[in-house]
Symmetry: C2
Subunit: 208 residues, 2 copies
DNA sequence: CTACCAATTGACCCACGAGTCAATTACGCT
DNA sequence: AGCGTAATTGACTCGTGGGTCAATTGGTAG
């Protein structure tokens, strides 16, 4: 099994640890994104990475740990992308749209990465599920602030549960546009966001 | 194995076929709804129904066929509920809301039934996936007409893809409210629908 | 060149779950 | 009561996939 060292003074062979790790992680992201947790095998990940199954285990431990690592990686990228937006832009629908655009842009090369965090069929109580759930909660608190502000600014001001429900809906909308993206790969983050803006406009107009 | 007969003139034992079938189907709906396809075992279904595993196979064949049967059952109930709404109400947002209310009401006792149709992690190419996909498509064409009408009536009239994207978003919104319902079982179909109406109002107000 | 050592793997083990079959049970008819 | 029949099941097989281990490979230091 590989030791916990990156420099290679003695007994080095094959690829440097960091590269190998990135390579396997990338393969795992692709496989998990396409097949989900249960339909993806460690063999498939190893094959896609071009290495043997034991090596994947040596680098990431169990399948559960590998998935958790992948989900954490995705979550970290997403959070890093939207934190500046939430901190800088004034709350409101435009901020929500900008947040959405940043989310699309973050997973631009592999849109299915998003599913790692939003897969609801993970083994109950597993580390993978805990990481994914935690990631969703952090994204909720950050990304939905704009929409929540919009809700609070409305003359109706629903009860406390409305904000929670709104968060769920907001995330589902992003997920829906992500999955729609899968079938329309020619779309760009910008066009997707504009498209959603049009939908909002249409909805607004039809209710005015 | 049970024969294909319902009346019981000779060699009868245990429960009548129709009751037994309904009993197993119900157990399967509960199990699949809670754990999804891959995490649910035939043993678990049999145990929940209070029968043995071979009996489940005798009644429904393979696991795949059982899931397909469950999904078809859910789809049939959902379609039967919303067809009258779509045919009678005038297109527009109110019709969409009424459709939503009927969907909630249909799965009132077991909201997780909805997930049988909207599980994206089904084995690729399986009968279960085909049934679920077909059900989603039928629901799309029916349930999204109101929203599509709203989109067309807007002054913006987006391109042809907008309608497709809008359908995806619409279904995701319903799914999101369903899953939100799981964690708030005290909610009713009516209150859920009203809540979503409030969210729409707030969104409209914040953009006017 | 040689010894050493980490990286890498072929081959294996094993748990779990789908699916099957012979055997058993109990109901209805005579 | 006793037989025929269909419902029901205990106990089994078997393929699949997660995980492990001893053995091999090929760099690097001396």
């Amino acid at each position: 099994m590989p030791a916990a060292r990156d420099a290679a003074p003695r007994g080095t062979r094959g690829m440097p640890r960091v590269e190998r790790e990135a390579q396997i992680l990338r393969a795992a992201l692709e496989e998990f994104g396409e097949g989900g947790y249960h339909q993806t095998g460690m063999d498939a990940v190893a094959a896609r990475a071009g290495v043997s199954k034991p090596l994947v285990h040596a680098y990431f431990g169990t399948k559960d740990a590998l998935y958790a690592r992948c989900a954490a990686d995705v979550a970290e990228r997403l959070l890093a992308a939207i934190v500046p937006v939430v901190e800088q832009a004034p709350p409101g629908v435009p901020m929500a749209l900008e947040t959405m655009r940043m989310l699309f842009a973050t997973v631009r090369e592999r849109p299915r990465d998003w599913l790692l965090v939003y897969d609801l069929t993970l083994p109950a109580g597993s580390e993978a599920e805990q990481v994914a759930t935690a990631a969703r909660e952090r994204l909720t608190k950050l990304g939905a602030q704009g929409v929540r502000a919009a809700l609070a600014a409305s003359p109706l001001e629903g009860d406390a549960l409305d904000a929670d429900a709104m968060n769920h809906v907001w995330q589902a909308v992003v997920t829906a546009l992500m999955t729609w993206w899968f079938d329309h790969p020619e779309q760009t983050p910008e066009r997707l966001t504009e498209r959603f803006g049009r939908l909002l406009d249409a909805l607004t107009a039809s209710r005015g």
